[in-house]
Amino acid sequence: MTSPDDERSRHQHILEEARRFAHEEVRPRARDFDERGELARDLIAKMATQGFLLARLPQQYGGLGLDPVTYGLVTEEIGKACCSSRALMTVECSLVGETLLAWGTEDQKRRWLQAIAKEGKLGAFALTEPEIGSDARGVKTTFEARGDDYILNGRKKWTSFGAIADFFLVVAMKDSSATVFLVERDQPGVRVTPMKGLLAGRAAHLAEIELENVCVPKDRMVGKPGSAFPYVVGTALDHGRYSVAWGGVAIAQASLEAMVTYARTRTQFGQKIAEFQLVQGMIGEAVAKIHAARALCLRAGELRQRRDPDAIMETTIAKHFSAQIAMEVATDAVQVHGGNGCSSSYPVERLFREAKVLNIIEGTAQIQQQMIAKYGLRKYYHRPSPE
């Protein structure tokens, strides 16, 4: 048994290592990844070796066993350096790893989590389709039983890391009830087409996946038949939102650091632009917004640690807010850079594009607002007392 002090210092050590790794091995290559439209395989392999791909999962399944807060802080460090590397953590650990951990059989956990942790394999989460996004319960991909197997037909789109993943968690429908299946890339009938021409996530290997009479053995069902909504997908998106919330803090923090550094070095009218109060206004707003977003993420992390049922809504709030402020801060960071902010020679150009995506993935801003509004309408209602 390790003592709580030992555990704390182990977590601290991992966080410091993540900081070093992000600074030395990820950040210098982020622009190149974005321009070439791919995350280098050697970096993915290093992230797996370091344990970052399943950082939050128990050590018995090849993870680092991090608590939610430390996991969030590690996500921030990697996300500050490169959004697509952070996206890889979101997909492997939160969308795929946590989902298998919560709903997979012991065999599925041992086989597929080990595959990510130790065998250089990647998973991807395939919910969205060409015609179905926010209205996820309407997925059109179908499954039907044939003997001991299931036959899947349909098309998925926007699958992050789908272009290079070895297996996918696919959400499919039968008689208006959805189930999750684990489909291997090399199964007959699976066709993967990488997506190009993207605003952001250019290095996140997005793909369309076509499934034509794909035969999936019974033991590849994740959860019970009909349990995709609200359970299995709900778990995936909840963990995904927590990761993306920290991804928002990461983009905002990286934007702030870039804007402060630029403002203190750029001279106009014979002064550093940091001395102009209108520029300071943007910096002041950015600092306050980031501190608030990080506080929301930390609170969500603490509630998750306690397995408090409110953690789910606090996570949604943190994701919504940090996605929002990431866009605002990145926009101001471009503004402070002037024309240079519009050039890929400066990271804020990339951060600005990447920030936009956070308002769309794991539930759009409008869907989050409605969830939060329902929570507010319930929690803050006081029955009017009779006159």
Binding site: G223, G226, R307, P309, R378
Partner: protein, 83 residues
């Protein structure tokens, strides 16, 4: 038995999303079908049951049919606790 049912009833009632403040939910009512809970509720409920009753809901055990009324959840928790 009563304690379990009361605890679950309290949790479910505190999570109802109903604009009509007089909405009633009987212990046998299917709150999903009646549209009285929002989408995060299901996994909030799982987290609550695991934390409160020290049971493990995940893996292959979850049958969605167990989780749509106060009575069904109560029976599920009881059966898990006697296992």
């Amino acid at each position: 038995m009563h304690d379990i049912a009361d605890t679950i009833r309290q949790f479910v009632h505190s999570h109802l999303v109903a604009f009509d403040a007089d909405t009633k939910l009987a212990d046998d009512d299917n709150f999903f079908e009646l549209g009285l809970v929002d989408s995060p509720f299901a996994i909030q409920l799982v987290a609550f049951l695991e934390e409160r009753f020290q049971i493990r809901v995940g893996d292959q055990e979850l049958d969605v049919a167990n989780f749509n009324s106060i009575n069904r959840i109560t029976s599920y928790v009881q059966s898990k606790r006697t296992q």
